[in-house]
Symmetry: C3
Subunit: 667 residues, 3 copies
């Protein structure tokens, strides 16, 4: 279970937008490129249920039949992410109320209220019908629930459900008032029904989710909405599992990453993680790597690359073409980090709708003598060759970066120090240190087991929930290595500050306390001195008292010149570092040269010649080195690999790698 | 008919904002500057109808009398563009519901719901009263309906009327679902009343009219709203025409140009086109030229310059003064392109309201010993001299640029390739080629007769409606010359993509097909090589297969170096060019040197010394050359004209033209 | 009366957010820093009145007791600025309707509708209870009503009250229609209930309060809302005064300055002015000086510095720390300009809520061995020493700058000339001239007595209400000196333009008239020539006819080269200057060298070595010179002061002043 039967090469296919007589021709084209899978029925509710309780599966039956006849793996959508027009008319409460307090009407997609009983009932009914009808088809190997869950609702129904959720969480109003520190600004409440949703008419302001008076309320609302959506997912999943206990059930995660949903809480309910990957043309190459590592780490298992673009992504500000070779290289980057599928949006380019200029396997020209199609064929051939070997292989990381949704939310709610706080950016600074050294890295939650890692890095660990400090202390005492930074250890899980000096409960393990934090203002140049060299820093500067910690770097400007900027503490068997400012990349690299040496974290290859290198290990212990040239320029293969074989081609490793070349090397 | 009895010099006059005893003095001032016309009663509804059905024409009677006594041509407004306060209170449905779904209340202007029966009835009643009262006054030579129609309403009433409009257009829901490609995202509908207006609560997002899921819906709504306003205009016009079949009826078009209204569809209902011209201080001088050519081409007849500013325009971000001579030159630029009037907003500067700092003939100082007034006198004298000759003269253009509202809408709805798509900018690139060469140019609709032109240029002809391709093919076959560009031939009239490769139905005439289109991203520098020289290009680059077309220019950067960027195809007796990228001005000029030579399009003067030159031809065949120095610098008159006479002064042509000097030269 | 019994050193203290057993320890810490005052009960309504009419003063009793026992001066808040949740639920009308027409719900603060009868009744009840309970406590020396009044409501209730307010002001609809010039755009009304609030659904657009059709309506609404809030204040004050006729009552003014409230109208109802001061880190140092001078001038008496930050201000975009010494210097800058208190927000840093990262006397660390605490101790010691001498001392200014709320509103509503009009900026240009010369300056209203000043400067005196022109003429005739500028004398109190040429009623005293005003556009460089030197100018250029005025400066670019830019007119015994453009600082300095020489305005010290110098005079005539080094750099004390004594330390004046050093020098 939780494993695909073969390496999938396919993607989203919407034949119901096309005449039936085109379908078999489409499938022939897919087969020409060695596709073996199609994801269907993502947005067909209006066709499947033209009026309430009246179902019409005739089209879907034929689609399923044709794909089954072609021996495709079918990823079966449940179609509940876009509601038919009649539903809005008959049950207006199925539609979300937005952050401005306005009930929406028919249109768009992904706009159901997660707490609407009508929506829940109608969605359940549909899924029951689907499962009943298709449960015996063995080609349906994955069920894909809904689509790209996300976004919040602020309706009265959600408000009532939220009150119940809070009653369950806090039990008493006293506890709630205390957790949310409600005596501030006369917010103390005396009745559960005095709680109002944190939208623009209540306690928040600015663009959705950016400014709030009572952070505890806003963060709890995000937790509640995330859970509400997760409950919808579970509702559908249970219907499927009842009939098909052994089938894989998933829903596609997305974004960079999605701020609205706590994917780590959700992961346990996924049989297999799936992810839609759309980095912008100018994203640094370590950003998708980070996201793939995050997805893999959610269950510490291979994941599905559920969506990606064969070439341009239409909805981004600029949609340049993927350069020759770029598509193959970037799809294989996902595989290098743990994907067991390569799936596209879209298999056939729509003629209308807002995604009609998104690239596809079958483009508007409907020709196969095109650059993009030839590249898809080439990749198909390689995956056919190497897929069986890759399938199910794992990544073994001894380094972990902590990424946490409660911190994501709370860190960006902070009203103070500087407006430039950005959670993902702060995490990426540190991820990049490992990426550029080709050190395998997991991206884990605060609830993951730290003991399996030599080094755990938790940048901007602003919110430290109850028990996490003991866990960290224990980990380091037993020999673990831990890095944290400015803006860490500041608040509890309700966003109330720990008294006694920052970083609160992390003072012990880091051996320091922070008296003040200075904002770096636009145009200001602040430097840090480390081993005799100065490095620029930005964002903020902690003024640190290194109680019993060793000072690794000092500020070399402003009135705090000469005071500690980075410290190191021996704690039990391990060590803890505190980085009090946002060092530039050069400075952070210098620091991590030291930290990595101290912790013994190992690069996969001594000098990678700017190639990205990852390693997956098959169940029978075979090591697969993914060597990716994610650039336009030629690079030389590291000497270590010259005797290896490229399993994508079955041939000897190429010493010279041209732009966007990728090899999967095995001994 | 459709012709003014004299060249008008006047503008908007609002005596009802002033004490009655000032009126006769105002008229004396106007006469001092040789004004012969006043536009009145634009916003007087509240005074004319202080309560429903109770009319008071006493003030208006006196105004009409005074102007008639002064032998002024009266342009009579119908006052329906700003509703009295009592109307909002009594009939709230007269007010628009905005893009955010909010019903507005009393205030502003131009905010009536076009489909409000109450508004329609009340406006009709008023116009009937006006016509009945003033139909016998022969000084009223033009009726000016409403004012500057524009903007959309999103109320329930509009929604219902829209559903009827759609029933009439599509007949069946099947046809509508197909046209709008509604199977995407489960949008299929089963009842006409499931259609909702495309506002922020439904299927669109972003600022009004910029982002939409179902482009077909949004474009149809724009067509519907444009027609709804046009129907209001026709309602008023019919009342006037019933009593006064021979009077000229118009409403003033406006903006750069107005995106919300299809002026080409509307033009047939105008007896004479009128236009309000307010270029910003930093607009290139070919922009107003383009707009005047567009206005003239709407009916291929002279038009009224209904509004313009004697000096500064208050509502623009910056309102610099018009420099000495600039007012005269820019007003005459309109005449040079076909205007038969010079009219200002405003004849008398208001003391209150949001336009009180807009310039006027009678300024706040109420003095006539001012720079601006002296210039107005000077222009008045010249128009008195030359107006009779100019009146009714026509422009004869052998080149046409295609401008089309359905393309304006659809092109800017495109979600893909690049966010920088701007319809007017793309058209202006090409218009400028003819403007700078002083080649007379019409700006026509896709429904105009192409056969009268030697060269038809249709940039970004994104939407090609049914039959347009045949029309183009036929035109070129018979010897016409046709230029089109990137982003052409892509969709049908419902915004559904033509399959088989871009530019869809224009593949035949251009002899090419486009496999991919690359977005040019910020900071990227892409060049095109033509005749051994490189030119920078921007926006996007089509990757072209020049099937049987000749390659005129090739890309000289990116992976498509060496492939076709511009092509030429001999098709029947004519030729067709395809320009696959947004060439910079230098490159486009180089290309059009070739195209113009090929097509024989003629400049009015070989070397114009950077002067703008146009030609109007009187009914008796006299050629009037307008030679305009639209700059601060001195220029020499081209040799061709030295023996001509300036009909503005009745004197011999001036060889040296100082800054902002204008001559209208005749042999 | 109207005088504090001692110099206060304290600030906002919210013990009700903390366990009771921490309070006495807090007070010990305060005493360690020589604090002698606490402001309490600002936001405790929800705790004081957990349900309607049921009061619980137990916590507050104890707080008052503890502070009294410590001999603190208590500034007692009335807690009416943040309403409890139950109030929104029971009486929804207590909440404001925003500019977009939306009724808000529970959350935030400062969001009561000023015209809600329910709010008024509930607030009155609370204040009555508070006064009754604490009226006998002599430690309560100041009552602090509500908090930081500001912002507008647009509800139906306000609309109805506004109609009554207008009836009272205008008596007849004819008068109102005339005042608002309502014949423009058919706005004439015939019934008082046709008047609608100027929000986004009515006559205005753009961000709140920036764009309006009928400026008279919008300005009257601002006047009405300002008065409505003032009435609320008076309602509470009267309750307090009835029981405690001799206690000081105040509410804290704020912002830079607050545009929504006419503090000059309000000042007469304040027993003592109090002000919250939060300049941003990059504000020029003359901005807080200007604001303090404004606050002092409101009653021409010392004021309370009610709130300020010990170090960083959390809610600004960037919150850098105050540098060592900076806090003390900037707090004393307020005292230098007339403050008789130094009070902070906040005495104890909250653990939750949106201000938790605002600096405090007791920080999150709760330690006293910190930089900030040591500086607070140092300042405490100095104030203890010098406070008694400073208390009640006055500033004697012979120069005044006019600042007027009706002008603030109307000037920024102007639709024309340039979008860059900014009232405060224009005023500051002129204030800075006196600030940099250390010339004591009052910032006065148009209703102040001008005769006490040698020089009155009224920049951008756009709106000149009835009688103000005579007042100015009279002042100058009798020997006064008057400076005004571009954009002056343009409109009456309803924003209707004065006819006959700008600056309208100021033409006589200035001896000029302005024919036209040119906007300076981005990138344009315009210069003015004065005494043979050229100075750059910006914003706009008046084209001036210097009837019988002397020309001091001429334009040296554009078509108006050589025409007057600055003029001087002898008028009776005095002189009047007109500055027709926004001269750069260098040019304005050159001009004021001349004006100051002409008027005899005196600097406090000939050469201040870039130190800020002010003078306060005690009741017994002692002169206190405040010498402030508001910079990081060392400066030398001017020779004049070397024999003086620093009353902060009781020691001899320091000749070398290090960065942020301050001395208060007395002979």
């Amino acid at each position: 279970m939780n494993k695909l039967s073969r390496f999938l090469y396919g993607g989203d296919y919407n034949p119901d937008q096309w005449p039936e007589d085109t379908w078999s021709k489409d499938i022939q084209v897919f087969k020409k490129a060695d596709l073996n899978s199609a994801t269907i029925n993502i947005f067909s509710w209006a066709l499947l249920e033209p009026e309430e309780g009246k179902y019409d599966f005739s089209k879907l039956d034929k689609i399923v039949q044709e794909l089954s006849d072609a021996d495709f793996d079918i990823v079966m959508g449940t179609s509940t992410a876009a509601m038919p027009a009649w539903m809005f008319k008959k049950y207006p409460d199925v539609a979300r109320v937005d952050y401005q307090g306005r009930r929406h009407v028919f249109g768009q997609r992904h706009n159901f209220c997660p707490n609407s009983k009508n929506y829940q009932k109608l969605a359940s009914n549909l899924v029951e019908q689907l499962v009943e009808r298709y449960k015996n088809n063995k080609h349906i190997t994955v069920w894909h629930v809904n689509n790209e869950y996300g976004g919040n609702c602020y309706c009265e129904n959600c408000q009532n459900t939220f009150r119940d959720w809070l009653k369950n969480k806090y039990k008493t109003l006293d506890a709630l008032n205390k957790a949310w520190n409600m005596n501030v600004w006369s917010h103390t409440i005396y009745d559960w029904d005095e709680i109002v949703v944190p939208n623009e008419l209540g306690d928040t302001w600015g663009p959705e989710g950016t400014e709030t008076i009572v952070a505890g309320l806003s963060i709890d609302y995000l937790r509640f909405q995330s859970e509400s959506l997760q409950n919808l997912y579970k509702m559908e999943k249970e219907i499927i599992k009842k009939a098909l206990p052994d089938v894989l059930v998933t829903t596609n995660f997305h974004s960079l990453p999605n701020k609205m949903i706590d994917y780590q809480k959700w992961a346990k309910d996924q049989d297999i993680i799936s992810y839609d990957s759309y980095p912008t043309y100018d994203a640094p190459k370590y950003l998708p790597a980070f996201l793939y590592d995050l997805m893999r780490s959610l269950k510490h298992q291979p994941f599905m690359l559920m969506e990606s673009a064969p070439s341009s992504v239409n909805w981004q500000p600029y949609s340049p073409l993927k350069r020759p070779g770029q598509m193959e290289a970037t799809e294989l980057q996902a595989v290098a980090h743990g994907a067991d599928t390569v799936q596209f949006f879209q298999l056939k380019q729509a003629v209308g709708g807002s995604e009609k200029f998104h690239s596809a396997v079958i483009a508007h020209s409907q020709r196969t003598d095109t650059r993009v199609f030839h590249e898809l064929e080439d990749l198909g051939k390689k995956l056919k060759q190497a897929g069986p070997t890759i399938l199910g292989s794992k990544v073994n990381a001894k380094v972990a970066i902590v990424f946490d949704w409660s911190n994501f939310w709370s860190y960006e709610f902070v009203d103070g120090i500087t407006q430039d706080l950005n959670y993902v950016d702060s995490i990426l600074d540190y991820y990049r240190q490992f990426y550029e050294r080709n050190i395998p890295t997991d991206v884990i939650s605060v609830d993951d087991d730290f003991s399996q890692y030599d080094l755990v890095v938790a940048p901007v660990l602003y919110m430290v929930k109850s028990g996490l400090d003991e866990k960290i202390n224990h980990y380091v005492e037993k020999g673990g290595n831990f890095v944290t930074t400015y803006m860490s250890g500041m608040v509890d899980s309700s966003d109330n500050v720990y008294l006694g000096g920052y970083p609160g409960p992390l003072k012990e393990v880091t051996g320091i306390w922070v008296e003040e934090s200075d904002a770096v203002v636009p145009g200001q140049k602040i430097t840090v001195e480390m081993n005799g060299k100065n490095y620029e820093t930005s964002l903020m500067c902690d003024l640190i008292h290194p109680n019993d910690a060793k000072v690794l770097a000092k500020y070399s400007s402003e009135f705090y010149t000469g005071t500690a900027a980075v410290t190191e503490k021996k704690f039990g068997q391990g060590k803890a570092w505190y980085v009090g400012t946002k060092l530039n990349h050069e400075g952070l690299t210098q620091l991590f040269n030291h930290i990595i040496m101290e912790t013994g974290a190992e690069s996969l290859v001594a000098d990678s010649n700017k190639l990205e290198v990852t390693k997956r290990i098959t169940e029978d212990g075979k090591e697969l080195y993914f060597v990716l040239n994610l650039s336009n320029e030629k690079r030389s293969l590291p000497g270590k690999f010259v005797e290896y074989q490229d399993i994508l081609t079955g041939e000897k490793a190429r010493k010279d790698m041209k732009g966007w070349d990728v090899q999967v090397l095995s001994r």
